[in-house]
Amino acid sequence: MIQQPGTSGLVLNEALLWDKSRDGRCAISLPKQDVDRATLDDSLTGDIPDLPQLSELDVVRHYTRLSQWNFGVDTGMYPLGSCTMKYNPKTNEVQAARKGFAEAHPLAGDEFSQGSLKLMYNLERYLAELTGFEAVTLQPAAGAHGELTGMLMMHAYFAKKGKQRSKIIIPDTAHGTNPASAALCGFEPINVKSGPDGILDPETIAAVMDEDTAGIMVTNPNTLGLFESNIKKIADIVHSKGGLVYGDGANMNAIMGIVKPGEIGIDVLHLNLHKTFSTPHGGGGPGSGPVAVGKRLEPFLPVPRVVKELDSYKFITDCPETIGKIHTFYGHFGIMVRAYAYILSMGAKGLLDTSRLAVLSANYIKESLKGTLNLPYDRPCMHECVFNDEIQQKNHITTVDMAKRLLDYGFHPPTIYFPLVVHGAFMVEPTESESKEDIDQFIDAVKAIAKEAKEDPEKLRKAPFLTKVTRLDEVTAARKPCLKG
């Protein structure tokens, strides 16, 4: 058996900040006072916030220890389906930290921000080229924010046509943000089932598409890791009734240089820079969700837009049909720098290779683990594959038990219980970053766990054992929420 990464080790406890606090300590170097004290009126002055008081080493130890309780991509394999946990290149951090970028004030003026403007302009062009669209906005701050932007533009499009539509088609494999974003714009989600082969059937769409339906939201490849091969026909059906096709580009990592969503009938697409384009997940953000559109929806893009005039760049706001603003300034510029650096580092061939290898690795895992875990859709997958716990259920072991046991083996578990169409889903996306050796370790770990499920199921139910804490009482956390100390 291949040696597994998970092992025991000493990890240190660390108290909450306020428990370490001692009156009189301060970890910041206070600037020297060089102007007169200007006392604000008593009626306006508040009590000093009761923040903790720590020395500099207190703070450094605190966060160093906390970091050691975390698992990141740099620690080990993180095969979360639909999240694309690829390697976050360190040179990207160097680029984002450059003084000219990090200290740039958003209102310095176009003339004094040519570096930022040129970067944004170029990034827009590259993303447009990659996705086969005409125009891009970098303003949305996350994928869900991009979805909202897309929905807002569709809403504005129908408003301009003089007849607003009230519904939108959402496949059962959709990410929860899809119906939530649609509902925020007043579109009632019409849920449709995927076919027995895991992809959408044009007939299902034709049955519900009408002139009161704004269109459809599709993820392609979908969240089962399968390419929606009927997409062109589906787009035609939607377009024939005056509707639009929204593309959720979360799974773009499977098709870069292979398929351009703008060429297959999609009208508006969002991308996740923190997925496909290697920007770090940061424990939950910040992300960035640019939106790409064709000429039809271009007038509705948020403002300001970046334009090039001869050799210089500027922001324009004179876009009469814009949906307005969705971020205080221009979006998550710091994240754009990282994605831009990534695209420049990869180049066209690198991005194409990325998708090809991501798909190869996913299929390698699929073939290696089918039989160990149940594979509901036994067909070539794209960059991710979905198993479930049907086999293990016979021993009363569930997906979550296997996931928790994987932690002991030194892996972050795959995505579990999503997509909802697969009961007990176990969705694996290796990405192109993982070496064959690491993937083989993962495959081995899953096989060992499947064996344990038969021979020692109680072990799985009580897992994990080697982590700082074991399974937590989420019921009490929800019944008696304690959200602050």
Binding site: Y417, E474, V475, A478, R479
Partner: protein, 132 residues
């Protein structure tokens, strides 16, 4: 999950297709979710209830019951006005799991039309529905 034979389904209440129960006592109907519903949901962490004075028609959504990972809407078995809500559930939502027909009740309604109770299922009819 319980086996069907283990479910606690009292004979003296009426049932809905969405697994609520309703009991007429005098001129007030007490309503809750039944043993099948609480078992399917798992540990209840929060119950969202309407306000006293709110009115609903039979079949309207009147609140929701939450577990850690799921939310279940609840539909009113009978038209009427809310006259009492079970405030005890704020501190002890688990009562819905442990005693769904008594201390785990959800709302009390002054019915618009008590004959609507005839539209609901009795125990045998509800069991048939579950089995089918």
């Amino acid at each position: 999950m319980k086996e069907m034979s283990d479910l606690n389904l009292p004979a003296d209440v009426k049932y809905t297709k969405d697994h609520e129960w309703a009991k007429l006592s005098g001129d007030i109907v007490t309503i809750g979710i039944n043993d099948y519903a609480q078992d399917q949901l798992g540990e209840v962490v929060f119950v969202e209830l309407p306000e006293i004075g709110d009115t609903f028609s039979q079949g309207d959504e009147f609140g929701s019951v939450e577990s850690v990972k799921a939310v279940s809407e609840i539909y009113i078995p009978i038209s009427g006005e809310i006259v009492e809500i079970n405030e005890g559930l704020e501190d002890a939502p688990e009562l819905v799991n442990t005693d769904c027909y008594n201390d785990g009740w959800l709302i009390k309604v002054k019915p618009e039309n008590t004959s609507e109770m005839d539209n609901l299922m009795d125990k045998p009819a509800y069991l048939d529905m579950l089995k089918g």
